[in-house]
Point group: C2
Chain length 111, copies 2
Amino acid sequence: MNIKPVAGIEPPYYAVVFTSVHRDDPDGYAETAVRMEELVGDVPGFLGYESARTPGGLGITVGYFRDTDSIAAWRRNLEHQEAQRRGRAEWYESYSVHVAKVERSYGFELG
Amino acid sequence: MNIKPVAGIEPPYYAVVFTSVHRDDPDGYAETAVRMEELVGDVPGFLGYESARTPGGLGITVGYFRDTDSIAAWRRNLEHQEAQRRGRAEWYESYSVHVAKVERSYGFELG
């Protein structure tokens, strides 16, 4: 998991915001999350991601992609589709996805 | 803090993704965060927010706004500006902000 904000990508690019609430004790989730991190890294136009989860609360993962083609390629990945299916069946209480075109971005780093 | 994903907003709308790494023991941060939650709720066009923080790791807050005017109104808020100044001086190791126009969104809720 990244512990540093993704920075320095030149707009336009896309952010896919995925927020979720887990069910209790989601068996097999952690292994699949690690596998998805590996897989998405191979998608052309994938730029990075950030993830945070409050214990017992909300999880937010933001994936950054160059364009809608790269998002579509990730959506078509069969192993990813299977993980999504399993997520709905076994892991998630609820989730939301927001696909958004980044118009500007900036950051701060302690000097 | 919200523990349920924001859902059911009709695009287009804006997502402001704020990811941050704290310094150790950020004094005064929690009180200010609560105050900012109150304040942003008064901004016309503010639609909601989601927040997660991995203990010792990354924090991600996503604010949803109807349009760029409502984001600009929040940026002009003087108390918010002071909190940002204090954040750079005292609280954050680093942060990134991505301002993005949501083109589509969808969700899942356990039936």
